[in-house]
Symmetry: C2
Subunit: 192 residues, 2 copies
């Protein structure tokens, strides 16, 4: 039997990704996000939402430079990823605290965290304040990936990347599991 529940933000699954940007003084800053999605194919783009009601330094930095990177952590970096969502860039240097390093983006003026095997370089193309959060849409102008997470076709391998799922209801992280079907294929049996 179905029941009603008190409304709250939910998405199953949500990602755990890390947005990074340079602040007004050129210092690298980052924060972990579960509010992130692809949002356009042409141009390729992602949308992230960051809380405007709290003093989030990374939001301020992205609005300042108009550029940011999105790093995709692997499960091996779940503790570092969690920390980057707990601490504030106003209080500490989160990248240094976890022993990570960064490089300048190849295309945009934003830091890429070296330890993440895949990252997007993004240029801000749209913003909107909706509810408690600011929606930031970034055109993806470059993708950086470690060669050893690529498949035989040169594409990023989901299983080699080993990304982190975040359950915002229980505040826990999960790995991805097993392959359960091929897109645009497993559903064809229902075609009349």
């Amino acid at each position: 039997m179905k029941i009603n529940q008190k409304p709250r933000a939910m998405m199953f699954p949500a990602p755990a990704v890390v947005a990074s940007a340079y602040d007004e003084d050129g210092k690298a800053d980052c924060c972990t996000l579960a509010f992130a999605t692809m949002c356009s194919h042409h141009p390729p783009a992602v949308m992230i939402a960051i809380n405007t009601t709290l003093k989030r330094k990374t939001l301020k930095s992205i609005l300042h430079t108009g550029e940011f990177c999105i790093g995709f952590p692997s499960v091996e970096h779940v503790a570092e990823t969690d920390y980057m969502g707990i601490a504030s860039g106003y209080d500490t240097d989160k990248i240094r605290d976890v022993g990570f390093t960064f490089s300048d983006g190849k295309v945009v003026n934003a830091p890429i965290i070296n330890e993440f095997a895949a990252s997007l370089e993004c240029r801000l193309i749209h913003t909107a304040d909706v509810g408690s959060h600011t929606q930031l849409t970034g055109e993806i102008v470059n993708v950086r990936a470690e060669e050893d997470i690529l498949d035989e076709k040169g594409k990023i391998s989901y299983q080699k990347l080993d990304p982190i799922c975040y359950d915002d209801v229980s505040h826990t992280y999960f790995s991805i599991g097993s392959h359960v079907g091929d897109g645009f294929k497993i559903g064809l049996k229902f075609r009349k």
Copy 2:
């Protein structure tokens, strides 16, 4: 060593969820989406992006009624979910084709697919055309969940729901895997 890749939309992980709405004639319609995220805590809200460059019936329906539901499929329904992303509501009745049924939303004028164990009822609060897609932000005004996917605290259990991850690079579906850490906890060890 890191290499540059041709820009394309990416998110790891992305969800596979189903948006549903009534069309202008009151007929239930739905489509599968990987472009979906939480985007606000207050009010609770989700943002979905639907391709405006193709004739997507569900987009038209949502813009018509201003209300929609988001269903969270479990792995057991991966084939049905895939089909709902292949077929068009202009050509066929996708819900009927897969043998599913629907009920009226309890709060909004949109259909809830009965077979999905958890669904959100949403009211459109913001739209934006960015790139090839229309971004639709919906305030979550009700959550419907099957009692048997709730944990002992009455919250939706990630593992009981068994949601589907979609890898848009390889066009394949994955289950969620194992618990790899507790949020706001596993990262505390880096605090100085």
